[in-house]
Amino acid sequence: MSIEIQDVHKAFGSLEVVKGVTMTVEKGEVVSIIGGSGSGKSTLLMCINGLEPINSGRILVDGTDVHGRGTDLNKLRRKIGIVFQQWNAFPHLTVLENVMLAPRKVLGKSKAEAEAIAVEKLARVGLSEKIAVYPSKLSGGQQQRMAIARALAMSPDYMLFDEVTSALDPQLVGEVLDTMRLLSSEGMTMIVVTHEIAFAREVSNRVAFFHKGRIHEIGPPAQVIGNPREPETIDFLKSVL
């Protein structure tokens, strides 16, 4: 049970943003990806659940080739939850309906089952009081927690987080990080692209520093963040800390 990324290259037109990335994330692990803008870290996440095609290399999720011919991506995506920088609430559905949608339509759960799941997941992210309102009535932090609950409702084996606090007001960042801390403490396998270096240091088993489309340095947080070897890593950490 793992996500295996093998020499993945990804270009948008003539611009290559991921230039040969190899890494494995084992079940139960929390791996943070840090690095400057345009270093290819978000793109890599999109490739992991097949939202973006890749140019070469391979990504295996529990042995299934994500970009292989005949791979049922809709099925594969059930076990990979992803939360985006933009929280992407479905504006025409209530908070409860947002979370119920995928269990009902993708997993074919009954209305009652889906509702039970949604109520439970929303309680976990601390939104029990907001289930009947529309997303527009929520703060950014609440919308982002709803997005986490929405992904969790599919009972994924893996959770991908793509700079989920970058678009939030500073005072709302904490509540979202708390939710993610809770997940990691429960043993959820997570890949977290983030600019929150302190958070990455605290929750991760490993930290990967991305630079110009490659993994420049990877290892335990105490090493990569606490005692980086590469000059680029040192420069980057200086710029964000």
Binding site: N49, N74, R78, I82, V106
Partner: protein, 221 residues
Amino acid sequence: MFSSLFDTTFSANDLWFMLKGAGVTLMLTFWAVLGGTLLGVVFGVVRAISPWWVNAPLGAVLDVFRSIPLLIQLVVANSFKTIIGIHWSPFTVGCVVLALYMSAYCTEIVRSGFLAVPTTTRRAARSLGLSWRQDLTEIVFPIAMRVALPSWIGLTLGVMKDTAMVWWIGVVELLRSSQVIVTRIQEPLFVLSIAGLIYFLMSFPIARLGARLEKRWREND
């Protein structure tokens, strides 16, 4: 019969005659809006998702319907029908031409509504495992509908008034029936005011319904 021909006052029969005309106007509107909306949704989605070599020709054809005055389209279609030997009634010709005319405008409304749904929202839907089709039915269409509704209501009301032009190919609808009465009783202001009132009473519920839906949806956004 002859007595009514020389009767110069507005009678209950006249009102009934106008109401029958209003019924024809409503039926024309109904078929035009139904056909125009269905075609418009299909064309609009096709225009939103297809490559340029489908998009450009389709857009050009629809532009023809938007650029030529409706009156000319009606007259040309009515003559063309006779030339190629289709035996459609003027009412049917009116419905078909109006539906195509509406579809050309509706296509653009649907297309812009469709494109108003952020790509990131659709990605989020797909990332949850929703299929392409489910993304359309559960996410894109409901959101696009809210965006498109005000324009669609406006278009529908416009088409209802444009139905008056089928008079020229021999359909007796509300305006034509009013004209018949005006010719006899020579009271154009009075008769046309009644006709205007009837048009208003037919449009008002549609406009109200639109406003109510819009208000309800806005409260949630």
